[in-house]
Symmetry: C2
Subunit: 228 residues, 2 copies
DNA sequence: GGGGTTGGATACTCATGGTATCCAATGGTA
DNA sequence: TACCATTGGATACCATGAGTATCCAACCCC
């Protein structure tokens, strides 16, 4: 298909597609002449991934390019590739990687995970812990004892669901890590609202008591208050 | 203390503090004369929160101001305030709020939570689900069955740990929601790496052996769920 | 064979998030 | 009391990022 059809199919403006082409996010179509190139379904999909990465995951064009490059030319080592992908994900961490990450180390030790300062995610965790601390809400042991196992269970499912085949595995792992984060965050926010509504005696026709009803399939509440 | 001391204490440049003052993120000090104002510990803390919100949580100055305003002048309704805070958190969602959110609705129904299109977080979830889908990794039932309960358990702990006292509750809830998100994300990334190392035979930047037994609740690695 | 796409290059715009200058009033110190 | 560095406040400036818009010349298809 021609580029104008890509515009129609994806809803992305022509100028923006040209920008993605320029920036190397979107591979060029197959040139059929000096002024014509042929694009395929792969381009449509790629554009959707670009938008997902930039708009929803919140990556800069630069970071999105790095992630896409990992998918396009996966290193043989899934583990290292995953590490590189994580380095491209927010929050950006200042490359003082040589330094010690005391909070992260303490947390990882409590979780029984290896502390390796070479992991970018360790620096990200350190930064997040420091931020929580300076906001006056440090991650105490009780909270960690809750967060740790639940997050680990999620991560185990994630890793188990990675396909075996090497190329697919990289793409699945990299995109899955990035793209499910906003889902988890949104689920937590909604759960907060749902739990808060039930616990804190919500106004409205839901005078349910403080005990949590079965989480799955147990609908029956309705009409939760809306914010603004 | 004078502003120069704030600079020392926080490490934030004077020009930047003036910028925060201008933008209304940081309240003015108590003026003692036309060219002198007194700042206190509260200002030091506020600056730390501003940095946490902008650098780690990734809020724009505009959004950070909204969140801080909620903390400074909490509405009487914790629930509504929390909703407003969530609306300031990324990802930014296009305000087509009237519209239907089919994916989010389906997910919430499966979780037994109420679907209320008025929640900003519902639109955020819809966007995240759509992004996952277009990246080729939709949230299938099996994954939801894992994510849902674990996230809910986390959310229940979060809500239970909100202090009773009204003013403190708002600050705690708002900052806690925002500031623990990067922690959870970092924990998941590290858990991915840890689980992957154990499952797939580790070869990271650190050749240290993985001597720990298969961690909690682990089923050994099969793979292949992928149903995209 | 001519008008409407293209590809490719270049230039421009807009919003953010700071920085830097300038100024005039201080006010602590000598 | 003189004086100069420090403030607050206002305004101007700058760098980056993410597109947008324009041009142009080569095409293609009708």
């Amino acid at each position: 298909m021609r580029i104008s059809e890509l515009v129609e199919r994806t809803g992305v403006p022509l100028a923006t597609l040209k920008f993605y082409l320029r920036e190397g996010l979107l591979p060029a179509g197959e040139a059929t002449s000096a002024t014509r190139a042929e694009y395929g379904e792969a381009h449509v999909r790629r554009i959707a991934v670009i938008r997902a990465l930039t708009e929803t995951v919140g990556l800069s064009v630069q970071k999105a390019r790095e992630v896409l490059a990992l998918i396009d030319r996966p290193e043989d080592d899934l583990f290292a590739t995953l590490g590189r992908a994580i380095a491209a994900l927010p929050p950006d961490v200042t490359p003082k990687s040589t330094q010690d990450h005391p909070r992260a180390r303490a947390v990882l030790e409590k979780l029984g995970q290896v502390y390796d300062p070479g992991f970018v995610a360790v620096a990200q965790l350190e930064q997040a812990l420091a931020a929580a601390e300076s906001a006056g809400i440090p991650l105490d042991d009780a909270r960690l004892a809750v967060y740790g196992p639940h997050i680990r269970a999620i991560a185990e499912f994630d890793v188990d669901s990675i396909p075996r085949e090497a190329t697919a595995a990289v793409e699945y792992a990299v995109l899955g890590t990035a793209v499910h984060e906003p889902v988890l965050i949104a689920l937590r926010r909604l759960a907060h609202q749902d739990v808060a509504a039930r616990r804190l005696g919500k106004k409205g026709p839901d005078p349910r008591a403080s005990k949590r009803p079965p989480a799955r399939g147990a609908s029956s509440g309705r009409s939760r208050p809306k914010e603004s």
